[in-house]
């Protein structure tokens, strides 16, 4: 009896030493583990791509790069991609600016509806627009047949249009938030001093918005050159880097050339990521004592009003028509060709199977992603170890990485032992986790910045161990960020196409890939119905997210009431 007690005590004391050590260093241990994960699932695949691009059958070689830069076809592909990026960025910025200007400065009654329309594409996978363009302008398209039009949809023009529509909300959101943060009194002061609307735009609004517009431009540029779906579906014979990578791998099984294309695609993305995050950091104008107030509508001069209204109406109309067309097409085998109203598209077994698979993959990705996101946010904000900013940078870099690159990277890295993941649901889920980590991490970081470290210190002061503090204090406060990370990862993963298209195995189809295939093979009805299902799922996710952010003020939560 007595000895048993003693040994128990001894055990406890030697155990407590280890425990103390772990307690004192837990955050560093955690950081190390997370870093290993990032290194393994994010850095390693990219390095694998880089290595592959230099490694021929007989070791190091530059011949693949030589091939890239000497062949006209590849050069054309690069040129097209960059040109697409530039055009898209400019057009999206202009449309986004007009929309944002109207929803923040225009008449009250237009603000809400315009905002909704501008944001609606968020609920759609980007390739919805490619699909709707096929329905309207494809070889059997509604408009094509109705007006006997011979416009060649498949090619540069089609890709530009679908991409532009897909990226309007992103441009709008970023520009709107900078416009909202601009103290309306500044423009009013200029107005008061005799400046006309156009002069105010030129001398006050745009100069003050410039840093924000530049940031938005860089982000849109990166996203559009990396976007896969629209270019792959509508590109036709026009080469673009992202779909070419795909053809290179799936068509010709040429991993070396595929890697070279990836490296060429990733280079501008990484460059821009650095400019965006480090050169432009903090480059915004601050004004004094300005509380965010909704601007009152102004009498906008026709010079401004007419072009703005035209651009806004055209954009809003196009977005609306695209949705309507896909919705309609989901009830016909091929809208415009067959006239029988059917529901079988929604009941299609392979489509539903693909949706089910997508939900499973996205769910797993969301759980893992949310956990890793919260933990990463925690070590980034609270940690004091060397390399903290590096971890932050890596974990936020996912959005700048083209999906196709990470797709090939995963194929190269995880298709052979010791870590053979290909063919399962895990590789798909992990791929999504690390690509879409940024938002979860950022939500976590912003939530943590709202908690004073004193709360945790007070808890520790009362004798609570690190783990107790973490689970009792930190986790509950972080919970909204966790949920946000979860839902965001889920809905992004479920529509994402560019990386998973490399990783799906036969017999385990995902919804996005199903839509892609169906669109390419002209099964418009199935593609549309599957798209509508995804739209519905994303819409529900958005509503939950919106509800949570209103509830917990996770979002900006600006008090709009003027004082």
């Amino acid at each position: 009896m007595a000895t048993a007690e003693l040994s128990l005590k001894l055990q406890a004391s030697s155990g407590s030493k280890i425990k103390d050590f772990i307690n004192a260093n837990l955050i560093n241990i955690l950081a190390a583990l997370l870093f290993l994960l990032l290194a393994f699932f994010l850095l390693y695949p990219i390095i694998a791509v880089l290595l592959k691009s230099f490694r021929g059958p007989s070791g190091f070689t530059l011949k693949y790069y030589q091939a890239f830069f000497s062949k006209n076809y590849y050069f054309q592909s690069l040129y097209n991609t960059l040109l697409l990026g530039v055009i898209n960025t400019v057009v999206c910025l202009v449309i986004g600016f007009c929309l944002a200007y109207m929803t923040t400065r225009g008449p009250w009654i237009l603000r809400k509806p315009l905002k909704i329309i501008a944001l609606v594409p968020l609920i759609a996978p980007p390739y919805l627009f490619a699909l709707s363009l096929i329905i309207l302008f494809g070889r059997n398209g509604l408009v094509t047949r109705m007006f006997d039009l011979h416009w060649q949809l498949y090619g540069f023009g089609g890709v530009v249009i679908s991409q532009t529509l897909a990226f309007i909300p992103l441009a709008y959101m970023m520009i709107e938030s900078t416009l909202m943060s601009l103290n309306p009194n500044l423009e009013e002061s200029a107005y008061d001093m005799g400046a006309s609307e156009a002069t105010i735009l030129r001398t006050i609004t745009i100069p003050l918005l410039a840093p924000g517009l530049l940031k938005a431009a860089l982000l849109i540029f990166v996203m559009t050159i990396a976007e896969f779906g629209n270019a792959a579906i509508l590109g036709g014979r026009t080469p673009f880097l992202a779909p070419d990578t795909y053809t290179m791998i799936t068509g010709e099984s040429d991993f070396n050339m595929g890697s070279v294309l990836s490296v060429v695609l990733i280079a501008p993305c990484i460059l821009i990521f650095f400019i965006h995050n480090y050169l432009l950091e903090g480059k915004t104008f601050t004004t004094i004592g300005g509380k965010p107030v909704a601007s009152e509508p102004r009498k906008i001069t026709p010079l401004i009003k007419v072009p703005f209204v035209i651009i806004t109406t055209v954009a809003a109309g196009a977005i609306f028509i695209c949705f309507a067309v896909v919705f309609a097409a989901s009830f016909y085998k091929i809208l415009g060709v067959t006239n029988k109203f059917i529901l079988t598209n929604y009941l299609d077994f392979t489509s539903n199977q693909a949706i089910y698979n997508s939900i499973r993959v996205s769910f797993v990705a969301a759980v893992i992603g949310a956990i890793i996101g919260v933990l990463l946010a925690y070590v980034i904000v609270r940690g004091k170890f060397f390399g903290r900013t590096f971890i932050e940078m890596v974990s936020l870099s996912g959005f700048a990485l083209p999906g196709t690159v990470l797709g090939i990277g995963y194929l190269l890295a995880f298709s052979a032992p010791p870590l053979k993941l290909t063919g399962g649901i895990m590789i798909l889920a992990l791929n999504c986790v690390f690509r879409f980590l940024a938002v979860g991490v950022e939500a976590g970081i912003s939530k943590l910045h709202q908690i004073h470290i004193e709360i945790e210190e007070a808890s520790a002061d009362l004798g609570a161990s690190f783990l107790t503090t973490f689970s009792r204090i930190v986790l509950p406060i972080m919970f909204p960020a966790f949920i946000a990370g979860f839902i965001y990862t889920f809905m992004t993963a479920i529509v994402s196409l560019s990386a998973v298209v490399f990783l799906v195995s036969p017999g385990f189809e995902l919804a996005a890939v199903k839509i892609f295939d169906a669109a390419v093979y002209g099964e418009i009805g199935i593609a549309s119905a599957t798209t509508m299902k995804l739209v519905l799922i994303v819409m529900i996710c958005m509503m939950i997210l919106n509800y949570i952010s209103n509830k917990t003020r996770l979002g900006s939560g600006i008090a709009k009431k003027p004082a």
């Binding site: 009013e188 004004t287 009152e296």
Partner: protein
């Protein structure tokens, strides 16, 4: 106080015409009526201050005058011209927003010269005018600075200079001092007032600070809930408030109920019966009659307080000291009289007697006390 009459401005008929007339202005935001019939005439060169609690519609009124918000009904007349429908850039008014709204991407000189540039002044003339304005606000050395490199007080001056650059007919100032700390606020308000008088510029000033309002203005307009409660000189507002709200808003006040029991017609001497005895006063107002129920407005500093409570002299009430707070230039006393508490300021307490807690004191109500007629 009445500086206007001294200068020769009031002579010609032209100058007698008000610079700004507000006629029965109403403003609705949705169904929320924010301004409920505001009427006022502002004379040339006058500084009129709208003062009232936060949310009473002061900023809205300024925005209406400046043209940033549509008026729901009523008229705004600037120098004889109806300007209801003119946009801000065509109105000869200039506004200084509460947050200054200085352009952060421009230098001080560019800010001040913005209006000149917009109005296509020639370069040389603009530069000279900017220099003149910067000298006026004592910032001549700061022309090349960026805005965020200035202190709050300096920013305030830049905003002021910018608003004055085009010599507007009416200057609108929305709580211009509210972002400054207390000492600077006193300095700046004197400067603004000096400049305003020197330039003889018609100014509508808005503040929620009643002391600032009294110190700076020719006339005060006390607002509450979108309505004008009283218009008058600072002295009028303070000494002869029209109602309890104003009396309480422009300073601390003790109220005491009573009834007029006699009025001597010739001398206007009157006696008020209160629950603490009779108070003799000299009536200042004509609208008070025998038998009226009144409320005496007793300012803390108008009351004499001293020790002892011996004989019952007229107008002297006895009480006991509840608290005595020495604050250098004054001492704040609270005195219990019967079941009511009065706040009394004792001036120059260094030379006066210092009181102790619970001591018996006597309180002398002045004969000039202002009365509010109670509604029957």
């Amino acid at each position: 106080m009445k500086k206007k009459g001294v200068a020769g401005y009031m002579d010609s008929e032209e100058n007698e015409k008000p610079m700004l007339i507000l006629k029965d202005i109403h403003k609705f935001y949705g169904t929320n009526e924010v301004l409920k019939g505001v009427s006022l005439e502002v004379k040339r060169g006058e500084l009129v201050t709208f003062v009232g609690p936060s949310g009473c519609g002061k900023t809205t009124l300024l925005r209406l005058i400046g043209g940033f918000t549509d008026i729901s009904s009523g008229d705004i007349i600037l120098d004889g011209q109806r300007i209801n429908d003119l946009p801000p850039n065509l109105r000869d008014t200039r506004i200084c927003f509460q947050n200054y709204a200085l352009f952060p991407h421009m230098t001080v000189a560019e800010n001040v010269g913005y209006g000149l540039k917009i109005n296509k002044w020639p370069k040389g003339k603009t530069a000279a005018r900017v220099r003149e304005l910067l000298e006026m606000v004592e910032l001549e050395a700061f022309g090349d600075r960026m805005i965020d490199k200035l202190s709050g007080g300096q920013q305030q001056r830049v905003a002021f200079a910018r608003a004055l650059s085009l010599e507007p007919k009416v200057l609108l100032l929305d709580e211009p001092l509210s972002n400054l700390d207390a000492n600077l606020r006193l300095v700046m308000r004197e400067e603004i007032r000096k400049l305003q008088e020197r330039l003889h510029i018609t100014t509508v000033f808005v503040t929620h600070d009643q002391f600032e309002a009294m110190a700076i203005s020719d006339r005060l307009v006390v607002m509450k809930d979108g309505r004008i409660e009283q218009v008058g000189s600072p002295i009028d507002i303070y000494e002869k408030p029209a109602n309890e709200f104003i009396a309480g808003f422009v300073g601390y006040v003790n109220f005491m109920d009573g009834r007029i029991v006699s009025i001597e017609e010739k001398t206007r001497d009157a006696v008020i019966a209160t629950e603490y005895g009779k108070i003799g006063i000299t009536l200042q107002q004509d609208d008070i009659n025998h038998g009226d129920d009144v409320l005496m407005v007793i300012r803390p500093e108008s009351v004499n307080i001293s020790l002892d409570c011996g004989g019952s002299r007229q107008n002297v009430l006895c009480g006991s000291l509840k608290t005595y707070m020495y604050a250098g230039s004054i001492a704040k006393c609270t005195v219990t009289i019967g079941d009511r508490t009065m706040i009394i300021d004792q001036y120059n307490p260094r030379d006066a007697q210092h009181f102790k807690h619970a001591e018996k004191v006597e309180v002398e109500i002045p004969r000039s006390v202002h009365l509010l007629k109670k509604k029957k």
